[in-house]
């Protein structure tokens, strides 16, 4: 139940989100368009407040221009465009197309503004009117002036939305409300609520019977609402002084001509009607935009409460969109805006206008800023007007981004992705060596292609160069050059791709080598970050990892077994020591016994000797097992190895004196400083010299020598063996003895202990047999 609700909730959330964002965008764009291109915030606020089209600036300007025209009619001035002559563009629409670029621009403007509303038409027309008139006026004859007035009246009078009464010097000239006298409020027809009366000096405006303040402080400023003659700084023409014009505007303008196609003037005639319609339409649009905005906001707030499973929704949508090939998505993403834009241009004829502005950019006399500004404004406006297309593109992009985010490898699902995967899988079937060899081939081939490409260009120039005209050559050269450049770019890109792969491989190999070094240095810890991108190297790393694990377990096993061995030896030696203690104690007691027969005393002496040897052996075994397992504590200090040798010899003086050999020394007088544990080194040399004495040929000499060799202090003990030495024997091995029968007094551990102790002190122990010469060399690093 709960999960079902959850799913519903997430679906609702998605719906709210999509709708909310869509509405927000629609509303926002509509509003932006109105704000940016149709009069800004003020006019919009006014529009929102009042439903009356007469409140719009368009209407005011319309009235101002009409008054202008009427005053011209009254005073017999030229009313531009209504004389039926060459510039009567109202009658002569066919002539436009042949006109100059500037005129085309006018057409465009009119076409565009026809969409927006009659206001724009009237404004641009009137503005054009005035400026043209100013330039052309002097050329008009009185007949032309009169004709223009008549023409103007002819067209104007049909529009009953705007009633006028024009009199000059008290004489009625023109009116389209023949049955009623407009200057008399009582005779006004019904449905007209706007009244303007210009008496030659000032205008009086009434709306719904209330007079409006038009002139303010009496000075006209740019942007003022009413641009009527009568300001102190805007008086109007001298001839207007005698004119008297009354204008009435309908509250709700009606359509006075149905024939929109046959008579192109119907639009012109129904200007006020269209103005009011447009005004209503604009209001509706603004309200719609606002409604969209608020609805979107509300939906988004709802979404905030429902957005729990947001991520999951994203994934679900991505799973759907992920089924589409990546190429389609890209195509859609590129095609949608293009289609939209083209459609936009086609539909509104905006294309020609934009084109005209774009071409204007090429003209020196049109300022760049103006053209670009216009252009960008146009593009923006077009964009804002087509919010549906925009929405579509927006959601397409959203889906695309969502897809990319939730399926980072979605680009692989597609034709190119499949091709790449196929190539990769084929590449993978080859061995690492082959792949590594093939990669430079690729680069080589690319380089070759590049060279061929350029050579082609060169040859083409050489061969056809003199046969072609200059322009043909140039065109051909350009095309070839472009092709070569494109080729180069493509080849460079593929080379970079190759290089990237190579670099990855190189880094992988480097890491692998580093890892091997670190393992060699005894770092058996696992490194979880140690992987490689290249599958072959990854395979190698995995194998290395296995080797590492094997080593790790082996080393662990070894340390554990060593430790166990030491413990075992310690326990055994302890267990041996206890009975040995009794044996030795009682032997000692027996030795003190008097009156024993001679042969018993002899037995006791043998027991005494052997028990003593056993005791020494137990101690030696214990020491050597500790040393071998690296648990031997060494107290390293700086000492003179020469002195140590002298001391050892002095210590053993008695034994040496008793032995049948003599000891010769070659020890320098100068100190030979080494870092070692004196007690251990004493034991080393004691064993060595003791050994030498024990196994030397009777009457031979034992040489004890010491010298400093480079960074090492090298001490050696040489003796001539009394027995033939077996060259293949490991003399430093445990329980190895010169006398295989093991009947002499040694434990067989002397050399082994010497070796272990030397190594524990950081030295090296070497043993050499040259014929019967037995040489032991102990080297320790010198201290400088």
């Amino acid at each position: 139940m709960a999960t079902k609700w959850k799913k519903w909730k997430s679906n609702l959330g998605l719906l709210a989100f999509v709708l909310g964002v869509s509405l927000l965008i629609t509303g926002g764009m509509g509003l932006c368009q109105k704000l940016l291109f149709q009069g800004g915030v003020q006019s919009m606020m006014r529009m929102l407040k009042m439903a009356d089209y007469q409140e719009s600036q368009q209407f005011r300007d319309f009235i101002a221009y009409r008054l202008n025209d009427f005053l011209n009619m009254a005073s017999g001035e030229y009313v531009y465009g209504y004389d039926g002559s060459e510039y009567g563009y109202m009658d002569n629409t066919a002539a436009w197309t042949d006109n100059t670029l500037q005129e085309a621009e006018i057409i465009n403007e009119i076409q565009m503004e026809a969409q927006e509303g009659a206001y724009a038409v009237s404004e641009s027309a009137s503005q054009w009117d005035e400026s043209e008139r100013f330039d052309w006026e002097p050329e008009y004859t009185d007949a032309q002036k009169k004709a223009s007035a008549k023409n103007y009246h002819k067209y104007r009078k049909r529009d009953k939305n705007l009633l006028y009464r024009i009199s000059y010097a008290g004489k009625l000239c023109y009116t389209n409300a023949e049955e009623s006298d407009l200057s008399n409020p009582n005779e006004w027809p019904k449905g007209y609520n706007f009244y303007l009366h210009f008496d030659g000096k000032k205008a009086v405006v009434q709306k719904d019977g209330k007079a409006l303040n038009i002139y303010g402080d009496g000075y006209y400023r740019e942007g003022d609402a009413w641009r009527l003659p009568g300001y102190k700084n805007l008086t109007g023409k001298e001839s207007w002084k005698k004119a008297d014009v009354v204008i009435l505007a309908a509250e709700q303008p009606a359509l006075y001509s149905q024939n929109l196609y046959g008579d192109e003037l119907s639009y012109w005639v129904n200007e006020l009607y269209f103005q009011s319609q447009n005004y209503e339409e604009m209001r509706r649009q603004i309200f719609f935009a606002l409604a969209c905005l608020s609805a979107g906001a509300v939906l988004l707030v709802c979404y905030l409460f429902l957005r729990e499973g947001r991520r999951e929704i994203g994934q679900r949508v991505a799973r759907l969109t992920g089924k589409i090939w990546f190429e389609w998505k890209i195509l859609l993403l590129v095609a949608l805006p293009v289609v939209w834009f083209v459609h936009m241009l086609e539909q509104d004829g905006m294309g020609a206008e934009i084109w005209s502005y774009a071409t204007e950019l090429g003209y020196a006399e049109v300022p760049w800023s103006y053209a670009t500004q216009e252009l960008s404004g146009l593009v923006c406006e077009t964009l804002f007007m087509h919010e549906k297309g925009f929405l579509l593109i927006f959601w397409a992009i959203c889906l695309f981004v969502n897809d990319l985010r939730n399926q980072p490898r979605s680009y692989r699902h597609g034709l190119i992705g499949r091709l790449v995967a196929l190539l990769n899988s084929r590449d993978l079937t080859r061995s690492l060596a082959k792949r590594m060899v093939r990669r430079p081939y690729g680069i080589f081939a690319l380089t070759l292609a590049q060279i061929v490409c350029f050579l082609c260009v060169l040859f083409t120039f050489l061969i056809f160069g003199n046969q072609m005209s200059a322009s043909g050559l140039l065109a051909m050269g350009n095309i070839l050059l472009l092709a070569a450049l494109a080729m180069t770019a493509l080849l460079l890109a593929s080379e970079i791709f190759f290089q990237k792969k190579n670099r990855g491989l190189a880094f992988d190999l480097e890491r692998l080598s580093e890892r091997i070094s670190s393992i060699r240095d005894g770092n058996y810890d696992a490194d979880p970050e140690f992987t490689a991108e290249d599958p072959d190297v990854r395979h190698m790393t995995m194998e290395l990892e296995e080797i590492r694990q094997g080593l790790e377990t082996a080393v662990e096993e070894q340390t554990r077994s060593e430790r166990m061995k030491v413990e075992l030896v310690a326990n055994v030696s302890h267990d041996i020591k206890t009975p040995l203690t009794s044996i030795i104690s009682y032997i000692q007691l027996m030795k003190q016994e008097e009156g024993l027969p001679e042969y018993v005393a002899d037995y006791i002496r043998i027991l005494d000797e052997k028990s003593e040897r056993l005791k020494n052996m137990v101690q030696d075994v214990f020491a050597i097992s500790k040393a071998a397992s690296g648990q031997l504590a060494v107290d390293l200090e700086e000492l003179d190895l020469g002195k140590l040798l002298y001391q050892t010899l002095a210590d053993m003086e008695e034994a040496i004196g008793e032995s049948p050999v003599s000891v010769k020394t070659e020890i320098p007088k100068d100190p030979v400083p080494v870092l070692a544990d004196g007690q251990r080194m004493y034991r080393v040399f004691q064993n060595l010299i003791g050994n030498a004495m024990k196994y030397s040929l009777e009457g031979s000499r034992v040489y004890v020598a010491l010298k400093a060799e480079g960074e090492l202090a090298v001490a050696s003990v040489k003796n001539t063996s009394s027995q033939e030495l077996d060259h293949g024997m490991d003399f430093a091995g445990r329980f190895t003895r010169g006398d295989q029968s093991r009947t002499d007094g040694g434990s067989g551990l002397g050399l082994s202990i010497a070796k272990s102790f030397t190594e524990a002190c950081g030295g090296t122990f070497q043993l050499e047999v040259i014929a019967d010469l037995f040489v032991v060399t102990v080297s320790l690093p010198l201290v400088r």
Partner: protein, 233 residues
């Protein structure tokens, strides 16, 4: 009255051997086979010295030593099969006066017992701190008389030995190279003096050490020289 010695070891034969050894020396022996028994016997008898094994059932030797130390000041010799330096240090820090590794040398053990007892009984543990005396463990050197006493007994030294002892006792713990000893004792430049000095050192050791092969006082510092160890107590 003969001094009473408590011998404790879980190996009855060892106890018996030690008992025979020490009875020959004229001591009265009490035998215990575990720590608790040893403590009981200590309560009931006047004991002058304790010989204690470490690894024993019921109460191990080191714990027993600690218990004894709470009440009594008698000398305790720990006897153990553990011969490591660390074991020795541990035993001594627990309150033992001496540490003898198994298998022990009976003569050495007897000598140690004698030495400790003499110091405990005869001198009563009183160290008379006089200006003309240098006390160092079992050794006492009378500087004015240039006489050396071991456990209160005078030691007969030759003139050269006396000079060496004089030098070393005045500089407890300091290491002297053989040349320096030679120069200061023989008052001649010391070349190849190692053997000469060593001979004398060995002789002095035989007179003052309980086990001359494992000296406690007169030590060789291998590769550097010789020194008289400075004792803690």
């Amino acid at each position: 009255m003969n001094e009473c010695i408590l011998v404790t070891d879980d190996d009855r034969e060892i106890v018996k051997a030690i008992a025979i050894l020490l009875e020959k020396e004229g001591y009265r022996i009490l035998k215990a086979y575990d720590g608790l028994q040893a403590l009981d016997l200590l309560m009931q008898n006047q004991v002058h010295l304790v010989i204690m094994d470490v690894m024993m059932p019921k109460l191990d030797g080191l714990s027993a030593v600690m218990r004894i130390r709470e009440r009594k000041n008698i000398p305790i010799i720990v006897l153990s099969a553990k011969s490591e330096e660390t074991d020795k240090v541990l035993g001594l820090s627990m309150g033992a006066d001496d540490y003898v590794a198994k298998p022990y040398n009976p003569a050495e053990l007897a000598a140690r017992v004698k030495s400790h007892l003499r110091r405990y009984v005869s001198l009563g543990g009183i160290h008379t701190a006089a200006n003309d005396r240098i006390q160092n463990g079992r050794l006492c050197y009378h500087t004015d008389a240039r006489a050396l006493y071991v456990d209160g007994e005078p030691v007969r030294l030759t003139a050269t030995e006396t000079k060496i002892v004089d030098l070393l006792m005045h500089n407890l713990g300091r290491i002297f190279p053989a040349e320096e000893i030679y120069e200061r004792v023989w008052e001649e430049p010391g070349f190849s003096s190692e053997n000469t000095v060593m001979v004398h050192i060995r002789r002095i050791r035989e007179k003052i050490e309980l086990n001359p092969k494992e000296p406690e006082y007169l030590k060789v510092v291998w590769g550097i020289g010789y020194k008289m160890e400075k004792m803690e107590k």
